[in-house]
Symmetry: C2
Amino acid sequence: MDGMNAMDAPLAGVAMHPLRQIADRRGAVLHMLRADAPWFSGFGEVYFSEVALGAIKAWKRHLRMTQYFAVPVGRIRLVLWDDRPDSTTRGATQVIELGRPESYMLVIVPPRLWYGFTAIGSGPALLSNCANMAHDPAESERMELHEAADRIPYRWEA
Amino acid sequence: MDGMNAMDAPLAGVAMHPLRQIADRRGAVLHMLRADAPWFSGFGEVYFSEVALGAIKAWKRHLRMTQYFAVPVGRIRLVLWDDRPDSTTRGATQVIELGRPESYMLVIVPPRLWYGFTAIGSGPALLSNCANMAHDPAESERMELHEAADRIPYRWEA
């Protein structure tokens, strides 16, 4: 269930890129996204989602937004579920664990994938999303955990 | 010396905008920058600078980059010094303290201002910079602390 495990097949359209961490005794510089990266698709908004240890933020999907996630603080388990009728990986889930230093990377989540995340480290975590469009409630959908229990083949740990 | 103090006059071209913090028992959502903000001037790169408690990252300036700073984790004292020959605030310093919840804001630092920062909270801090151009070492300059001691009228606490 570890996203860094090669056994965990990626869903169609999901990409992961290792990010540079420039060590410094005063504190590291942590790359996230540049406009000249081959995978950059436009800037709409950058914001942060703090996650209390053990809290679950799930489920949600965007209809048009591509999300670019990085976790500079703490440790997050990100779970993706593919319900796209036209996808070669329809029905599959993907679990990705994000956190420094060994799993500091950019995860690109295309539109129409359901996603959720939880903080699994020793304290709260911070997820940054540099999305290719600004927040627009009209293009996102939510599914409550109790509703997802019958639809999404993933069980969050208690 | 508190940037939220109205006595601390801003340097020419520096702007501060309060940022929304959407409270949630699972962890807050923290706004930073949208492409449709009136103060947005383009996206070049977003990255993070971690600052160990008490560590000083100073001094540096960019010749062309406009920086957009926010501090989602911890507490930072940001110090700016104006050495621009054509500036109405030449010679002045500005001290801004950044951190949640009461000082969560976007600070826009125009090119050619010298800047430095230190973590002043109870632990490490994270500064995010969503800059209007990607990192280019050819357009930035550094000044070591011992060199700045003779030039910049600001003393970092020991």
